[in-house]
Subunit: 129 residues, 4 copies
């Protein structure tokens, strides 16, 4: 899949460019053989596990005031997650940007501001308009 | 945090723009109170769980040939994950783009192409140069 | 919560006994303060992430033939997961044994052998009797 | 793997008995073909994702005072996780009970009560005796 396909599918330019560099990085190492979508999903989940471990004993308040060392570690995990997400979407021909825009439209419908304000409830539990 | 801060920190332009839209969406619903980094990390992990469930009984080969319905579902989960990742990084003032670039540089050093080619081993197990 | 409560709720005896030892271990270290169900859930998920990482690049076949080192590592993670599961259920007063028996009954109804045989489909997609 | 093997390996009796019932349940439905350790790990992680979602917007305090409906849902997920953990360990010939006992011994050494009391730090960061 060339970046031209990504541009045609409306992928965010920077993400499309990154996916192309990532493709080259992977090809250089002959790693595509390990990168089935199934495997990439497991790898993504593994990184998310590492991210969770950084927060597990912190209170919500402490999680807002991370020290430098923890903040750095969190940034590293966020990067790992983004890389696997880009890789997985690239393997499946999914443009993340448009998928995000579509999801935000759906979210706006499921959670109208006037009904959802201040509530963390699932939309099925929101009071009807 | 304004998008100007994100641009100063070198965030990918569309991600920076999206984070700004997301901030407005959240503020409109008075949801920031639920969005401690700790909570956002849990929500991100919850979505990754949904993504895993779509692949759990598929073979690696089947995961490369998803039917339309499953592909759509995967796209939805990828979008959800990207949204929470953007939200979390925004709350912590982390620019994803630069973090990804830094991680890729590190990966290139940990996994030199000539040593890592065709191997899925962790870098500590690669043959020494 | 004493083990007598667990026995009353029908918890599997060794699990009940283990929960009691775990309670003492935690109390000795004054760790209950960190062990809200929310935190324990995150810790559990963190360990599951470590388990995923052991399998992510293995094929399904390779995952059936683990070398000794990997098998040991998997056993360690399974233990960690069981410990957090016991801790979490203990904090919430949930007896795991009875919950498992109830779930198995439900699974037998959702997935009758004659309809579900050889199929990995979710029950809603099984052919109707 | 018969339950006799589990008893020989010192598995907790109730867990050994359950694993045997689970084996029959799976065999009846010809599901072993889907139950590679790799797949079972993904399924386990999927259930943990569902558990996380039940807590993601709750504060630590709220997570200690769950309403009946949420408590029921949590019990269901705990059961699902236990079932997959039993299944995975059975496929790999791992006795969970002994693995847990071994891990608790290790934890007692890594986190001596007098040094670890009241601290959520990783053992490498504990003050030296």
């Amino acid at each position: 899949m060339t970046d031209k396909t990504d541009t045609q599918r409306g992928e965010w330019p920077e993400l499309a460019a990154f996916k192309q560099r990532l493709r080259a990085f992977v090809a250089e190492r002959d790693w595509q053989q390990f990168h089935s979508p199934k495997n990439l999903t497991m790898a993504l989940a593994g990184e998310v596990g590492e991210l969770l471990e950084l927060f597990q004993w912190l209170s919500e308040e402490e999680s807002q005031q991370l020290d430098n060392e923890t903040l750095q570690a969190v940034a590293h995990e966020i990067a790992d997650i983004q890389v696997y997400l880009a890789n997985l979407s690239d393997r499946l021909g999914i443009a993340i940007g448009p998928a995000v825009e579509a999801k935000m439209k759906l979210n706006a419908e499921k959670y109208p501001a006037d009904l959802a304000r201040g509530k963390a409830l699932k939309y099925s539990k929101l009071p009807k308009a």
